[in-house]
Symmetry: C3
Subunit: 303 residues, 3 copies
């Protein structure tokens, strides 16, 4: 039993339905060998798409992944590498920065991709995303940077992250090819994209969004807000009804039920978590279960 695969857009890459996210990879304290094992175990599960960003782990996560990959270079052809650029945080390791900011200039995009390629130890990214909508984004300039990266073969496909419909539409208007995804936050604790037109736009334009923070960074399990308490009560009930292993599976099944093809990112470094998570593809919520979660999140019934 392996996870299904999704083709993004009409020309887009084929990704695994679940994506392994390396945002917190440094916190996992894995040796290079352990990281390699983790990657291999993901591939065995069918999770071949690996989500990175230049800035993850204060610019260290890509390199950690790269060192692991170097131990078994043949793996590169079995995975799809996603990275992002455009944020310049004021990290300890970047003393020249005193304020978190964005940079979507050609110069920074090209520089960032070079760094990502080098750190990951690969010659091509399968997908590059603009990490955040930048109020200073010159869409023509980003388009030119994308074109350069495509022509040089350094990046195969392009997308965005956390963009609104109007921001997506703006950048798309300057491109000869399709942006293949918008990576956005979706969880039962954060349903904004269901109501602000973001997912309507995705469905209309056949865009499969990637979803980050599907478990709201763990808040669904631990937060003592009324919303989180209501949600846990419903998630526990539905877990039992469906014979699920845990609440996580119900949450992921809830996401997969959306009419757009969501690709959830799994942020855990424990392969057991991934193993149970991917089983959620085979869990089908009925509409009453799905709307019970919606209702628990909103605190009121649908109108």
């Amino acid at each position: 039993m392996t996870v299904s695969r999704i083709k993004l857009g009409s020309q887009g890459p084929e990704f695994s339905r679940f994506v392994a996210g390396f945002w917190r990879a440094l916190d996992w304290n894995k040796s290079d060998q352990d990281m390699l094992t983790f990657i291999e175990q993901n591939i065995e599960l069918g999770i071949t798409t690996m989500d990175h960003a230049d800035i993850y782990g204060q610019y260290q996560c890509e390199a950690a992944f790269g060192r692991a990959l170097k131990l078994n270079p043949e793996l590169r052809s079995k995975i799809e590498l996603v990275s992002k650029c455009g944020i310049k945080p004021a990290f300890d390791c970047t003393p020249d920065r005193y304020v978190n900011h964005y940079d979507t200039t050609m110069q920074h995009i090209l520089y960032s991709v070079e760094q990502s390629l080098q750190n990951l130890g690969t010659e091509q990214l399968d997908l590059l995303l603009i990490h955040r909508p930048d109020p200073l984004m010159n869409a023509d300039e980003v388009a030119e940077a994308f074109a350069k990266l495509q022509q040089s073969g350094k990046v195969k496909h392009f997308g965005v992250s956390n963009f609104s419909a109007s921001q997506f539409s703006l950048l798309q208007s300057r491109l000869d090819f399709e942006l293949v995804t918008n990576q956005i936050e979706i969880s039962p604790l954060n349903m904004q994209s269901l109501h602000d037109g973001s997912l309507d736009y995705c469905q209309q334009h056949n865009i499969a969004p990637m979803a980050w923070s599907c478990l709201a960074g763990g808040d669904i399990f631990t937060a003592q807000t009324e919303q989180a308490i209501r949600l846990r009560e419903v998630l526990v009930r539905i877990s039992k009804e469906l014979g699920a292993d845990n609440m996580d599976q119900v949450i992921y099944a809830w996401l997969l039920a959306l009419p757009v093809q969501v690709l959830p990112i799994i942020g855990s470094g424990r392969i057991e978590r991934s193993r149970t998570t991917v089983l959620s593809e085979h869990i089908k919520l009925d509409r009453q279960q799905w709307f019970s979660i919606w209702q628990a999140s909103m605190g009121h019934s649908v109108p």
Copy 2:
């Protein structure tokens, strides 16, 4: 003197400017004969468009209407029947449902239309609306259901209700024909659609919206909120200025003054109410009167 008629869309049905709404029809406690009389009196007034939904009166309203229609089947050709589907409330009569939810699957749409046709005692709906935007709506599936219903002749035209501009645009993108209306809430107590782009979208795409809850369910006349008190003061003043019979007429005239052709739904079962309401077509607010109502609703002058 009879109400005017509006052609919805370029191919759309011709409806009466005012629509009789049967949401509360069970509360009217009419015998079948009285209901028939009420329908006939509406037709005499020129109100030929009759607004239903599968769920009204806990699924009983359409049948009540149908029994009346059966007493004079020739009336069918003199009226336009609108119904809706997509909501599955947890009514007492639906013990298998424990949560209000939506269902816009092909199966449910087709099933619901069959029920509406049978209950109304007709072979064709003039217009079918998706009752509420469903976060689980698969636009392709709805489009396929609509196509089937059109081909079989069971439904002539299609539209939506309570959809945002992005939701309308999504569903329209999958159809070969025009959605002919968006039935939305508009009243001096709820002017959201005037400011959130919904009516801009309607005007741009030449969509005549139907308006529900034009009197805010009576709140305009009874609520003790500052907004309602402000509104009544202004409505009374304008009623006098225009020699209107009551505040209702001023409210409907205010709606009819919008640059989109709004078709207000009258929700009353008393034909005298309809008689005075339709006279509002001949009441013209000047711009100061119109904006006095806007200002009373908002609590501040236009900027």
Copy 3:
């Protein structure tokens, strides 16, 4: 050293990057000769675009400008005249009005332009704007009025002010020519247009917005809100870093850094203000400086 020039739209007028605004012109208490001098001094600086509206100064500003222009009629060919219509305020001088309202009927638009032409003492406006989005705007009627004004040569180009993206899109859909601008409020104290899709829309459609109230009517310098206090602290710091003459220059440089070509309106009647303001074209904020102002306005870092 003179201010640069911007071509609005593909066919649009060529305007000076900074625009002289005559909203408060009556408060300046200038004689006709002083007003003429002020206009000439603006032209010397390269500020050739002059922003008016029918209603400014309770309908007196255009006439004051016109009297000055009459003293040196040759200036007309050296400037671009912008005016607006569509607001009908309840001024002391308009005793027939008891409520502020809008009027975008053909009749009022044509009447208002006639008045503006007469008051300004010119035969043609370079640009006419609809001053505010009017919920009663019939886009077909406005389009017809614009066409008449264009054909008669009374107005060369058309635009809007304070319109949302959907309102702009609506009116544009009825026109054979491009709306060349949307005049909107942009300042570090009011960044709404950066986040609500307005500027995304402008960039996508290559619309150069004019910006009013760039200094928030002086609130940036005087308000005791936490936001204003935070902003002043940052603006003072950046002024020093860049060797700017004052905070104003930093604010204008911040606006000019946006990826759309903003044309700021200078509302002062003191030519020294304009002289220092136009120097901001040569001040380049780096991204950390730009985002420091963003952060001070929002009260939090970018996500």
